[in-house]
Chain length 169, copies 2
Amino acid sequence: MQTWTAIRARRHVRSYQDRPIAPADLDQILEAGRVAPSWSNKQARDFVVVTDRDRLAELASVSPAAGHVRGSAAAVGFVVPDDDAMIVQYAYDAGQATMLMAIAAVALGIGSAPAEIGNGEKLRTVLCLPAGQRCLHVLAFGYPADGPLDPTTKLHRRPFDQVVHRDRW
Amino acid sequence: MQTWTAIRARRHVRSYQDRPIAPADLDQILEAGRVAPSWSNKQARDFVVVTDRDRLAELASVSPAAGHVRGSAAAVGFVVPDDDAMIVQYAYDAGQATMLMAIAAVALGIGSAPAEIGNGEKLRTVLCLPAGQRCLHVLAFGYPADGPLDPTTKLHRRPFDQVVHRDRW
């Protein structure tokens, strides 16, 4: 798929077909996250990729905002050091890795949507996180149940001329 | 350019040819940022795109980390509401928009690199920011001076099997 088509076809997908993602395709999505840039190239992030159905259901139950994880084919937890002083940089880097994974997925016909999952003990237990690490968010993946990803889909966005300022605000 | 090629060819580019970016191409890069997802789809972000050479030089002088902005063809300031309570979400969203812009640029043969520029008065003056808004970072764009973007370039990254954990940490 052409890059611009993938960028335009990306949308949040929270309803998935009951169809697994081939391991090579899932690894390609994760590879897109691995090569993402990071603050000072610290790469202070790990990805916990969950495909086990019982564990996906447990993840989904961690937060009301994570319900779509239950029906996903795979979910990736973005894990970073639990360091409040670095949280803004880590969040920025997680955003960068999120979009590279999402775009790599679109090119494979796979949709995605993030889930905010807090930082509770249940989440830590499900992902078996060690002390000193926290999961910023979970990104769920799967083949869209509501039709293929389509670059002509209209997203609800502010108009270009309102968002973009030329040379000065 | 194929999506996977663009993902693999992306790298930070801080040295640029003395060559402008065609307005339609620059707008396509900005459009990639406009369609990026955001927390609760709030889209609480504006892009100030600078192409004026004097203003680029002023931007470059704002911070020692922004030197590469001087020779860039264009620089985009990511502006968000100045709200400490939302800074983590805004940073995550800025990371998402950053990577969509960067990938859209790669597909056009254009490199990019972010610059941390603080939140000082000089920056605010250069971008003419109104009260209540702050610029999180600047993303500089230009045609690479050190050779074309190449998907075979080796990035310094932690090994896949160290970064990726299966089903649990």
